[in-house]
Symmetry: C2
Subunit: 246 residues, 2 copies
């Protein structure tokens, strides 16, 4: 494989760069303690993520909901979950703050240093369905250094719509083939490849917790399979880029 | 003045953060030397900037030209300038590379460290009429650390259109009043204030070279007047922000 042409790496964020599940469960537990609420917070967070956020994105993509940001999708689902589970009497301010748990996600142990290594040779950018405000706050919280924050509220399209990947490349001044998508999720990478981008698969075995099946099998259809961002940097450093963008 | 509510600083870039004129003249001189072309490069660069780029933006804003990026405006004007001045026989590749001079602009001496200080307490973002690719390459070249790169090709509107400032605030998850525009140019700041943002004036006396009048007078209409980014950091550090965004 030849990666000389790859000038930018665009990253999926939730699950690929940060451990959303552990981080948000911890914030929910602290919230429960503060307001005297007992709940199965792991299942609460899984519903919030899979049904609320990912289900919400599917509905936006099908035209069943208007375009809205990740923050808005999170907020709507949080209100619904609190009502369903009979959690009442919490100050509105505290609910707003709980929604902001998604802005304070811990990076995987290799993420901060791995990104720093990858940045030496190539542009590193987010390409996330999260919104700019969320991603900027998360980067400041987690110490992630991005050259650029690109997201669905900038491209106007959620992944896996091809337009999200193509707009990302266009904004970076690059042909799609000069951009490599990095993700822990095969569907994201397959869609990126269909749009003409390159793909690096970095499986994150503990992302979804112990009870959910996740496809972690290496797949030769992807340009790179790496165990973490250090491994990705090592594999890509073997081939430095030649061209400039813009 | 109270700045507790100011959570993000958005920066004009050309002239405010980087010394475009000295940098691009230097690149043009090297280009002239390589291809044996004698020219008044200072006036060439001034035409490129003021007539080509700024004139081009005015024409886009009046609807006389379709929306295009700074790179495209620069490219069109460069071709016209070369033709007007009878400069021919240069390889196309070299012209493309010369256009990229605008991606390699030196920061003012206080910019890198000053931004780092300002980043400790507040989000720092570009809000430039330059395009994302140009701004990302410039940041990597100059060592500028931005939390976020916002620009006309993201907001869909050139400054001083109010929509450019408002879209910037919206993407950062902030009310306009929680964002402070930082610029060396009064018109940019006046438009930002009319859109509801705060304004910090940082005059850059040598931006436009020795022969062009620039309005450097402090103006009490602006929330802050600072001599450089260190001074701006010192004035703002006196009042740390209280709220969070998003």
């Amino acid at each position: 494989m030849s990666f000389e042409r790859v000038r930018a790496l665009t990253f999926d964020v939730f699950g690929t760069v940060v451990d959303w599940r552990t981080s948000v469960i911890r914030e929910c537990e602290a919230f429960g303690k503060q307001y005297g609420i007992a709940a199965d917070w792991a299942s609460f967070v899984d519903d919030w993520r899979y049904d609320g956020y990912m289900g919400g994105i599917s509905r936006v993509r099908k035209g069943e909901l208007p375009f809205m940001t990740a923050d808005e999708l999170h907020r709507q689902k949080l209100a619904a979950l609190l009502a369903e589970r009979g959690i009442t009497g919490v100050p509105g301010e505290a609910v707003v703050e709980l929604n902001r748990a998604w802005h304070r996600l811990d990076p995987w142990p290799d993420a901060v240093e791995g990104l720093e290594r990858l940045r030496q040779h190539r542009i590193v950018s987010t390409l996330s369905n999260g919104n700019v405000a969320l991603l900027v706050n998360m980067a400041r919280y987690a110490g992630l250094r991005w050259d650029c924050v690109l997201s669905a509220d900038i491209t106007g399209a959620f992944k896996p719509d091809p337009e999200c990947y193509l707009a990302g490349a266009r904004l970076l001044g690059l042909e799609p083939g000069a951009v490599m998508m990095v993700a822990a999720h095969k569907r994201d990478l397959q869609a990126a490849q269909e749009a003409g981008l390159r793909a690096a698969f970095v499986p994150r075995p503990s992302e979804a917790g112990p009870d959910r099946d996740v496809d972690l099998e290496p797949d030769p259809a992807f340009d790179v399979v790496a165990i973490d961002f250090h491994d990705l940097a090592t594999q890509l450093e073997a081939v430095a880029p030649t061209a400039t963008n813009g």
